[in-house]
C-alpha cells in the first residue's frame, strides 16, 4: 500500500482535531478533539511501524508498542481531564472555555458576571 495514504489521512485527521481544539467552546468537545489528534498520531505510528518492520530484518515493533502506550495515556488523560472539567463546572457553573478568562488583562471580577461572554452564556443556558 502507498505510504502516503495513511500519512495524509493522519495529517488531515490531526488538523481536524486541531481545528476542534481551537474552535470548540465546550471543554468536553475540546477533549474529543484532542482524542482525534492523538488518534491521528497513532495511525502514523502504526503505518510507519508496519512499513519499517517489513524493511528491516529485526524489529522491536516500537511503533505499535508506543501506540499502545499512547492509548493508555490517552485513557488516563481523558479521565483526569474530565475530572478537571467537572470540577470547573461545579465551581463556575459553566464548562465553556472562553468564559474562563481569569488571566485577562484588567480582569477584576469574575467573568461570569462581566465581560463579553455573559450574553453567550445566557444563550447557552
Amino acid at each position: 500500500m502507498h505510504l502516503a495514504y495513511p500519512a495524509v489521512l493522519a495529517a488531515l485527521l490531526f488538523c481536524t482535531g486541531l481545528y476542534g481544539v481551537l474552535a470548540r467552546r465546550n471543554a468536553i468537545l475540546v477533549l474529543m478533539s484532542v482524542e482525534l489528534m492523538l488518534n491521528a498520531v497513532n495511525l502514523n505510528l502504526v503505518a510507519f511501524d508496519v512499513w519499517l518492520s517489513r524493511a528491516a530484518e529485526e524489529t522491536l515493533h516500537s511503533g505499535q508498542a508506543l501506540t499502545l502506550f499512547t492509548i493508555a495515556i490517552a485513557a488516563a488523560e481523558i479521565g483526569i481531564g474530565l475530572a478537571i472539567v467537572l470540577a470547573v463546572y461545579r465551581a463556575r457553573g459553566t464548562s465553556d472555555i472562553d468564559r474562563l478568562r481569569d488571566t485577562a488583562e484588567g480582569h477584576e471580577t469574575d467573568t461570569s458576571e462581566t465581560g463579553p461572554g455573559t450574553e453567550k452564556a445566557e444563550a447557552t443556558a
Binding site: 481551537l22 472555555i97 472562553d98 474562563l100 478568562r101 488571566t103 485577562a104 488583562e105 484588567g106 467573568t111
Partner: protein, 664 residues
C-alpha cells in the same frame, strides 16, 4: 612639646572646638560658650609661643605625606616664617576677641551654638591657610573660609538682605576661586610641586613657563577673597551679617588671606611685570573708589566695609611695589584697628538702636551712653586716618615709603609706573580716609536732637574686648616698625620724611575739610527730621542689629544711603554722591553684564529642556506606551486565542524551516 607640634595644634584646636560645639550645641547649652572661647584662646596662646620660638629666624618647615596622589605630591606640611607666625598671632587675637565679644553680643540668640562653631571653624581654616606649606592644603582652608563666610553672613537669614548678601559673598568669591584653582594647578605643573618652598625655588631659578598667566589667574582669586576691584562688591553687602562676624571675617582674617597669599608667593608675581602693573592698577582703583564710596554710605558698617576695601588696597599696593613687609605690617595693624572699629560699631548700633549715620546725627549724648566705645572708636579712627603716633600711621607710611622707593627706581622687582600709581592713589586715599573717618566720628558721636535711650551699661565682655584691641591700635606701629624687619625680609619699615609729611598733611587736610562741611551743614539736620530706631531696644545687640538692617531699606529707601541733606559727604562729593552711594553702579553693571545674561540663558535652557528635550522624551515614551497598550489588548484571557497564535507561529516557523532546508 616641639614647635611643630604646637603649630599643628593651633589650627586643630578651634577645629575640634567647632566639631564639639556642633555636636553638643543642642544638648548641652552650658558647654557652648567655653567650647567657643577656650579653644580659640588656647590656639592664640600656642600661636604666641610658636611666634616666640620662631623668633623671625629661618622658616620652620615640616612635612608629612599622607598618601601618594599621583604626579604632583600633596603633603600636609608646615611652613612658618616670620610672616606666618605674626599673622597667626593676629588671627588668634582677633578671633579670641570676637568669640568673647559674641558671647555678649548674641547672648539671647537661639542659633548661637552653630554660630560659635562656625566662627571656630573659620578661625581654624584661617590658621591652616597661614601655617600650611602646601598650596592644596592652603586651598582647603581657603574654601572652608568661603563656605563659613556664606553661613555667617547669612546668620540673620530671616531677612532677605542677609540671604542675598550671603549668596552674593559666596558666588563672587567663587567667581575668583575658579581661576585661582586653575592658577594653582598651572603653578604646580610648572614648578613640579605644590610645596611653597619648592615653588619659590623654582621661581628663583626661573623655572616658571608662564608667569604672567599664572599670576593673573591667582590674582583673580585674591581679588575675590580680599575684596579688590572688580570683585569687591560682596564685602559691603556682607555687612548684613552680625557685627562680630564682620569684624572677624571682613576685617582681619578672610580678606587678609588674599593679601597674605600674595605675600607668600610674591616672587611668583614679581616674575611677571604685567601682573605687577595689573596689581598696582587694581590697588589704585580699589583705594580711590572705595574711599569715595565710603564717604557716601549711611550704614555705619558699610562705611567700615568700604574702608576695609581701601585699606586692603593699600596692602595690595604695597605688594604691587614688591614690598611684602610693608603689606603684612599694614595687615597686622589694620587687623587690630579694623576689628576694633567693627566691634565698637556693634556697640554703637546697639546703643543707638539703628545703623544709620543720619539717624545717629539726630541723636545727642550717644557718647555719654557708651564711653568705652566712644574712646576706643576714636583711637581706631585716628589709626585708620593714619594720624601719628597711632599704628595706622606707621604701617601706611611704610607702604607709601615703599612706593616712593620704587618711583625713584631703586628696585628691580617692580616697575616704576606701579610705584607712581600706588603713591598717588595712596595719597588721595589718605585724604579720603581721613575725611570719611572724620565724617563717621562727627555724625555718630556729635549729633544733636533727641537724647539717646539709656540701656544701661553694655555687657562687660563687649567693652573689655574693645580696650584690649585699642592697645595695639594705639601702640603697635611705633613699637613694631623697628622690630618687624627682623621678622620679615629685613626691609626698612621706618617712615620717611617726605611721605610722612605728605601723608599726614593730606590726612589732616581731609579731616579739616570734612569738619568744615559738617559745620556748614549742621543746621540743616534740625530742619530735616529723619530716622528710625529698633522696635526692641531692650533685646540683645544681635537682635537690634538684625532689625536695624531689615528696616534700613524701608525707612530710608536704600540699604546703603539715606536722603540726608545734612550729610557732609553730600557736599564734599557733589554730583558724585549719588553714584558713590551705590558703589559706582558696579552692581548694576554686573547685573547687566552677568546676571541678566545668565538668567536669560537659564530661561532659554529651561525652555529647551521643557519644550524641546522633553518633547523627545515624551515622544520616546509614547511609542512603548502605545505598543504596550496594543500588547495588553491581546491579553484577552481566552486560552484558545493564545493557542491559535502559538500554533500559527509554529506553522509559520515549520514552513520557514522547510523552505530553508529544501533550499527554496
Amino acid at each position: 612639646m616641639t614647635t611643630t607640634t604646637l603649630a599643628v595644634l593651633v589650627p586643630l584646636l578651634p577645629f575640634l572646638g567647632a566639631v564639639a560645639g556642633l555636636l553638643l550645641g543642642r544638648n548641652a547649652p552650658g558647654f557652648v560658650r567655653p567650647l567657643a572661647v577656650l579653644p580659640t584662646l588656647t590656639a592664640l596662646a600656642l600661636a604666641v609661643v610658636v611666634a616666640v620660638r620662631q623668633g623671625g629666624d629661618a622658616a620652620l618647615t615640616a612635612a608629612t605625606e599622607l598618601t601618594p596622589t599621583g604626579s604632583v605630591p600633596i603633603e600636609l606640611s608646615l611652613y612658618i616664617d616670620g610672616f606666618a607666625a605674626l599673622v597667626a598671632v593676629l588671627v588668634g587675637t582677633v578671633a579670641t576677641c570676637v568669640q568673647i565679644y559674641s558671647t555678649g553680643y548674641l547672648r539671647e540668640d537661639p542659633r548661637y551654638p552653630s554660630y560659635a562653631a562656625l566662627v571656630s571653624l573659620f578661625t581654624s581654616a584661617m590658621f591652616l591657610v597661614v601655617y600650611t606649606g602646601d598650596l592644596i592644603v592652603l586651598l582647603v582652608g581657603w574654601e572652608v573660609m568661603g563656605i563659613c563666610s556664606y553661613f555667617l553672613v547669612g546668620h540673620y537669614w530671616e531677612t532677605p538682605e542677609a540671604r542675598a548678601a550671603s549668596l552674593k559673598a559666596f558666588l563672587v568669591t567663587k567667581l575668583g576661586d575658579v581661576p585661582f584653582l586653575i592658577g594653582l594647578f598651572a603653578l604646580a605643573t610648572d614648578a613640579g610641586s605644590f610645596e611653597i618652598t619648592k615653588v619659590l625655588d623654582a621661581v628663583a631659578h626661573g623655572g616658571l613657563g608662564h608667569p604672567t598667566v599664572i599670576a593673573l589667574l591667582l590674582l583673580a582669586g585674591v581679588a575675590g577673597k580680599s575684596a579688590q576691584f572688580p570683585l569687591h562688591t560682596w564685602l559691603p553687602d556682607a555687612m548684613a551679617g552680625p557685627t562680630p562676624v564682620s569684624a572677624l571675617i571682613h576685617a582681619a582674617t578672610m580678606v587678609a588671606a588674599g593679601v597674605y597669599f600674595i605675600a607668600r608667593l610674591l616672587p611668583v608675581f614679581e616674575a611677571s611685570q604685567a601682573a605687577m602693573v595689573v596689581l598696582a592698577v587694581m590697588a589704585a582703583v580699589t583705594m580711590v573708589g572705595s574711599g569715595l564710596a565710603a564717604l557716601a554710605q549711611d550704614d555705619i558698617k558699610r562705611v567700615l566695609a568700604y574702608s576695609t576695601i581701601g585699606q586692603l588696597g593699600y596692602m595690595t599696593g604695597a605688594l604691587a611695589v614688591g614690598d611684602r613687609s610693608a603689606a603684612v605690617f599694614h595687615l597686622l595693624s589694620h587687623g587690630a584697628f579694623k576689628a576694633l572699629l567693627f566691634l565698637a560699631a556693634g556697640v554703637i548700633i546697639h546703643a543707638a538702636g539703628t545703623n544709620s549715620l543720619a539717624a545717629m546725627s539726630r541723636t545727642s549724648r550717644l557718647r555719654e551712653r557708651i564711653p568705652d566705645a566712644y574712646w576706643t572708636m576714636t583711637v581706631a579712627l585716628l589709626a585708620l586716618a593714619a594720624i601719628p603716633p597711632f599704628s595706622g600711621f606707621f604701617s601706611k607710611e611704610s607702604v607709601l615709603g615703599a612706593a616712593e622707593h620704587v618711583t625713584t627706581g631703586h628696585t628691580e622687582h617692580a616697575p616704576g609706573a606701579a610705584g607712581w600709581l600706588v603713591l598717588l592713589a595712596g595719597l588721595i586715599t589718605a585724604l579720603l580716609t581721613a575725611a570719611y573717618a572724620t565724617r563717621l566720628w562727627l555724625l555718630a558721636f556729635h549729633g544733636r536732637g533727641a537724647e539717646a535711650p539709656d540701656h544701661g551699661r553694655q555687657p562687660l565682655t563687649m567693652t573689655v574686648v574693645l580696650w584690649v584691641l585699642a592697645v595695639p591700635s594705639l601702640g603697635l606701629g611705633a613699637l613694631a616698625y623697628r622690630t618687624l624687619p627682623g621678622w620679615f625680609d629685613g626691609n626698612d619699615l621706618a617712615p620717611t620724611v617726605t611721605t610722612s609729611v605728605l601723608g599726614t598733611g593730606v590726612a589732616l587736610a581731609g579731616a579739616l575739610i570734612a569738619y568744615a562741611a559738617w559745620r556748614h551743614l549742621r543746621p540743616l539736620a534740625a530742619v530735616a527730621p529723619l530716622g528710625a530706631v529698633a522696635a526692641h531696644p531692650e533685646g540683645d545687640a544681635g537682635q537690634v542689629e538684625a532689625e536695624a538692617i531689615a528696616t534700613h531699606a524701608p525707612a530710608y529707601g536704600d540699604v546703603a544711603s539715606a536722603p540726608d541733606p545734612a550729610d557732609p559727604g553730600r557736599l564734599l562729593l557733589g554730583p558724585l554722591y549719588r553714584h558713590a552711594a551705590v558703589g559706582f553702579h558696579l552692581d548694576a553693571v554686573y547685573s547687566a553684564l552677568f546676571v541678566r545674561p545668565v538668567q536669560g540663558g537659564a530661561s532659554l535652557v529651561r525652555f529647551l529642556d521643557r519644550e524641546v528635550v522633553d518633547t523627545y522624551v515624551r515622544g520616546a515614551g509614547a511609542l512603548p506606551r502605545w505598543l504596550g497598550a496594543a500588547v495588553r489588548r491581546a491579553q484577552t484571557g481566552n486560552v484558545q486565542t493564545y493557542v491559535s497564535a502559538l500554533l500559527a507561529g509554529t506553522v509559520v516557523l515549520a514552513v520557514a524551516v522547510l523552505l530553508v532546508a529544501s533550499g527554496a
